[in-house]
Subunit: 239 residues, 4 copies
């Protein structure tokens, strides 16, 4: 059983009628719904305005993979909450950062870089090329995924070189982007996945759902290794 927590800042859907129409119960519920179809997933949701910003220590201790959607309220997430999530990733919890989560505190803290990029909201076509067809995250995905209308993110994306580069996006307007990237940090696995703007029905797309389902399985390491920095005795004679 893989325990997944889907965290969403859950503000756009309450404030913007167009977004609410696409995600009436919030992006988190849309994601939880398709993940829940996996018999071996146990899915919880959490949002910014809940107590402890939805991310209590007991919940995180029971989470194998955390999915993160945030956009306009990155600064509202308290540093203490970010530190708690950060330690859990380093202990072995998976983290899947979606779309505008490139600028979340937790993603930037794990990367150590600015995570800046180019952007444009013009509803243009995106084609995500599958660079790693043998990788577990692309199981069941063909040569590419086409999205008819998306927000554009363009290079240079200020990230450390990914351990594995899974998708590269082509945009109609002329840009490219490293749209699916894997890193290991501590004992945990991190996947950044670009699609997911709130004004487009990205999370209703079955191929996007397949990628996220695969990513949960990939990010679930099954380990939980606390940090130590021990003073140790020698294993061999020193003199």
């Amino acid at each position: 059983m893989i325990r997944v927590t889907v965290w969403n800042e859950f503000l756009h859907e309450k404030e913007d009628a167009a977004v609410k129409k696409i995600y009436p119960d919030g992006i988190h519920q849309a994601i939880a719904r398709f993940l829940n179809q996996q018999p071996d997933f146990q899915v919880t949701t959490a949002t910014l305005e809940q107590p402890e910003q939805g991310l209590s220590a007991p919940l995180l201790a029971q989470t194998d993979v955390l999915i993160w959607w945030g956009h306009k309220a990155h600064d509202k997430v308290r540093d203490a909450v970010v530190d708690r999530v950060h330690q859990r990733v380093l202990e072995g919890m998976g983290l899947i950062a979606l779309h505008s989560a490139h600028y979340s505190k937790i993603f930037r803290k794990l990367m150590g870089t600015n995570c800046s990029l180019k952007w444009r909201e013009a509803g243009e076509k995106e084609r995500l090329w599958n660079i790693a067809p043998g990788h577990p995250i692309t199981a069941g995905i063909g040569e590419y995924i086409e999205l008819p209308a998306t927000e554009m993110y363009g290079e240079r994306f200020d990230i450390p070189t990914p351990d594995s580069l899974i998708f590269i996006s082509w945009f109609k307007g002329g840009e490219v982007f490293r749209s699916g990237c894997c890193w290991e940090r501590g004992h945990g696995r991190v996947f950044y996945f670009r699609p997911g703007h709130e004004t487009h029905p990205i999370f209703h797309n079955s191929e996007i759902q397949q990628v996220l389902t695969n990513a949960v399985r990939w990010a679930a390491t099954g380990v939980n290794i606390p940090d130590i920095c021990p003073n140790v005795e020698p294993l061999e004679l020193i003199d």
Copy 2:
């Protein structure tokens, strides 16, 4: 001309007679002295107890490579100073983190991990194996460097996989360690180099001096690229 700033917390040398005997003017001055023998290096020193903790914005703006030695006062370095150094690295400034700087705020912020390790102060023998004899950092270095007496650092070192692994240490007491590691972060280059405990005359060793001199040249990228996250117009017709 490569502009180098050698930063040292400079506390042990003032408080501990044994350390003062090895480094009467401080570790920073010992390092500055041998770097200054390079005609194309312009070397400045800076210490924790100076105004702005020695790291003012103007000085950082004029620094191509920053060398960092810290140990007992990591927590005293203010977050604002760390953020300033961090941004300069992402813009292209090199950072060389020495020995106990594995636990400095700036190194941990760049890595995104705990940077913990095993340790032992027993004055044992260390042999740093040169894993990358073609790399600029090992120019002039043979198969290995031997240090007759050092503090031990042992694996697992909680760091992201280095872009290049330069040295692996063998310790008499039975441990190993990734002792020379390179990463790129933003537009800057980071080198971690393990040797350098304050109670051993490590920075008087000519091979260690050669490595640090090489590392300064490697870390000096010559670029200074400010961070941006622009909203851009399309380069091609979208419709």
Copy 3:
């Protein structure tokens, strides 16, 4: 079901009484025996002196993970057989190269480098440090594995930087070695594992058996993607 083929040149065991005593049925049978205890593994063995050097196209087509032990007869393996194995790895078959297989034709072909190293047969102690305790290959393994008497392999090991470095060995005689290394090549996964000299009972060690069992699961990608280089039509209007 994971289909494993254990290939062994199977010469030392027939020619050298000391080796035969340790592995009366050959190294391949010793390995097959403990792998066969996994209910989801289906294990076949193959040896150099069989027809088609034990590696027919039909067998390879039915192999998910190939384990390779060779030493004194690397040159006897025909290039056509090597090419066949190579294509299967690029299609998605896993390859686990053991000990002296660092110098096998297939491993060198996948690496693109000389794969040379230092060596010494002195029966000294080796300690393999677990650098990646969260990796599937080290599941169930503690901080290190100790082998009381082994052949020594020392750096510099002439390999491309591993995608993941799993074990670093410490040797009593003063050397270190990257003893467990992972790479992706094409759609396949490659694991090199250092221990396994024929004059020591390495494959009877339960921790070594655990690592190899784990490595088989890790290397089984489940994909089989033939190579193509197609001339394609545009997906968008060009003019």
Copy 4:
């Protein structure tokens, strides 16, 4: 002084009038001409139909960086010549593989993979995005390079994950490609650069010339380390 050898199979330019019009003296001479403007470069050319296929051992021993253009005669390059070049790269010689050299014997041998890709000759627009503006290979290059008409190469490009990814191409027809990739192999550095089809005047483009000039400097390691696999004495007491 960096000694550069520009190797070209030099067949298209002799057989095809359209190509000859663009490169009357051959692609190698066009490349040698702009490289020769660097006062610290010493440039030699070599072609397939010369004695020893242009690549004698003495010439290679005097070459710091080899540039390779080949297309229709990859199979004509003798394995002994390929092996000679391969060893020199592993000893520290740089190799810059251009365009259709993705399928050359030497590039495939260094990569260990098929190096296959998608392709289309339709003279469409290409935009190479500069993913690594702080890297020496992109010095003087802006956010992207535009080529008004090129042959298309599309993903998936069957290569090992590059150590550094420098350029990603956008094609008008809808594809993307990792167009500038760096690897280390042995002690040598390898750069693959996609542009350069013989029917387009790519090597007359000043930005392409800048990239190649930069790449030569980057690939010149200055080292020449022969391969060894020594039997060594212990450095420490074993018993």
